[in-house]
Amino acid sequence: MNQDPRRVRCIACSIFRKELEALQASGRLDLPVEYLNSMLHMVPAKLEVRLQEALEAARRQDPDRDVVIAYGDCCGHMEDFEAEPGTTRTQGINCCEIVLGRETYRKLRREGAFFLMPEWARSWRQVFVGQLGLLGPCAKTFMQELHTRLIYLDTGILPVPHEELAGASEFLGLPVEILPVSLDPLLANLRQAIQTAGHHD
């Protein structure tokens, strides 16, 4: 088992940047992290290419260091990345499940929740209008047909962006709820991945 977490590096989605930086600053997480733009999530094929490049660069830079991928199942070949020696991934189908834990995620999804992580809450217009092409009444009918409410996952690192959330709520035609979430599930998930990485030794 890998006893030294500093022998592991992490490639993470920038959706986790503030949270991981806070964990590092508090001394609860000790490993170098490289971030990839969270907007890559909207184009899984591009994400796959960028992740592959980042993994190859990390191995070239330090072949002895295992890599933890802090991602959900966000592109078609994520399992292939995990299968490569010295590579593990956080458990969860997406960032929201990683932060909430499986049971809470499933319960809220069953209730029709649409989650906004802190980073995306601040760029919701870019996602819904720029990436998905939702405009005018189409945005409301689209979201109301699929979801019952927006849930902002308040990880406590950034101030709650009340103005942006009100704008998203109005544009998407859904009420918004603020759910305080602990960083513990994210940290536990990462620690498990770090520990599993050690088994590759």
Partner: protein, 232 residues
Amino acid sequence: MDRNYCQELLDAIERADRAGAAAVVDAWAVGRSFSQVVPELLSPTLESFGTLWSQGHGGVSLATGYVASKVAEDVLSRLLRESSPDGGPILPSKGPVLLGNVEDDFHPLGRNMVVAFLRTAGWDVRDLGVDVPPAQFVDQAEETGARVIGASAMMYTTAKNVARIRAEIDRRGLTGKVQLAVGGAVFKLRPELVSDLGGDGTATSALEASALFERLWQRSLNLDPTPLRALP
């Protein structure tokens, strides 16, 4: 000069303009029998849209695909409200067939679109919703006599549950008789998963689902024409 209603409807869909699309349908219907709206207006328009979609045309976004399915739903609703003069069926009756998101999958958008396009094509679709366990798919197939199950999954993690539906179909001795259509983002990115996970076929877009279901239905009949549902 005659208006090109198909092009106008396509333009409205490409603008993700549902209200504009409804106005085109209304204008087309003036002086025409609405019972002809599918073959004369909707089908050719959706065929053109499907071509753009499958070619990855720049103007085709998730929103325009969604609006196309809403236009199909709107037309279908109106068609069902306005019964044909002789009281006969307005749309051909095909099916029944089942559709659902596999267990653990909570992404209904693609499935909703397929439901709309299949219904417009005359299929009797039983929509099972999201997070459907394998046994429920097969229970419903046996109960309704559906020869085709459509299973939707967005990610590989959840797509693996398609293999569990395959196993359940086989375990009940329904191999071939119940065909398994699969779809969703991960199958577009990794087409090899269709057969790896036990699917019988897939379509490259929601608009091509009806043709896929036709093929699978016919294959089921060829393999075993006896009814799926036990007669009372």
